[in-house]
């Protein structure tokens, strides 16, 4: 019997699903996968679990997840959010895709070196998020 291929619903958005829950899902843009895989296994595990709880609609501590605040919004009005573990930061945004509450990771800082987020990364991130918004 031919094995049925599992289709990732986020594939048509150029993303891969990381976790799925009752109240949402979290995915990552394909271009970030290499950075994600380079992260320490503990960091990935913590962030994945944080995303799992986010998908369940739970209230996450600011040490794990932060939305808005100093990162602000993009020109297109998307609020930037970040999952954190150690010095690693996974920046992204929330969007309803196909009626499903979705968090998409759009950029990654594997080892934040200063207190403030890297301004170049944030600028790049904002452009990337708005481009995604225009395409989808």
């Amino acid at each position: 019997m031919k094995e049925q291929e599992v289709v990732d619903e986020l594939a048509r958005y150029g993303c891969i699903t990381l976790v799925q829950g009752r109240n949402g899902r979290a995915g990552i843009m394909l271009r970030i996968v290499k950075d994600w895989n380079k992260l320490d296994a503990k960091v990935r595990a913590r962030i994945k679990r944080g995303m799992t709880e986010w998908c369940e609609g739970r209230m996450l501590p600011h040490t794990l997840y932060k939305s808005g605040g100093r990162y602000g919004q993009t020109k297109g009005g998307s609020t930037i959010a970040v999952f954190k573990s150690g010095q690693a930061r996974l920046y992204g945004f929330e969007r309803h895709l196909d009626g499903v509450r979705t968090f998409l990771v759009a950029d990654c800082d594997p080892a934040k070196k200063q207190n403030e987020a890297d301004p170049d990364l944030i600028a790049r991130l904002k452009v990337r998020i708005d481009a995604f918004g225009k395409e989808n």
């Binding site: 990732d8 594939a11 891969i16 990381l18 990552i28 394909l30 996968v33 290499k34 994600w36 895989n37 296994a41 503990k42 990935r44 595990a45 913590r46 994945k48 679990r49 944080g50 799992t52 709880e53 739970r58 209230m59 996450l60 501590p61 040490t63 794990l64 573990s85 150690g86």
Partner: protein
Amino acid sequence: MSSHEELVEFAGADLEIEATEGFMVDVQVYLNELMERKGVTRAELARRMGVSRARVSKMFSDDYNLTVRQLARAAYHLGEFPRVESDTTRELRAERDAVHRDTALRASPNVVSLWRDVSPANPADVSCTGDDERIQGIVRLARRSGTR
């Protein structure tokens, strides 16, 4: 290797790390939800526990190895008597509940026939997939026959 294959490769990575770090995150989310729900700040929790605010903040850091005792104390000072739950404890509880239910049914023979009439094997007027639907089916049968 495609991005998807790379990610799938990661999925098979160290599950022990996922279980351990995942649980640590779960504990932090649990405490955070309790504090939000009860309107207790970190400073207030520190005061209640008789520890420094820095110690409470550490509970939410990545590397801090919170002891079971510290977790229980924090939960207690947030008004909870925490219990450990897992897939196995839930399974065991369901098994115990089933035994109690069967014992109760045996003690009430008039209920047994109704319970049998409305079952997944003999669904009467409803398609039953679980106990809740069976109970609803029994209520419907009872109403139809004029009993309450």
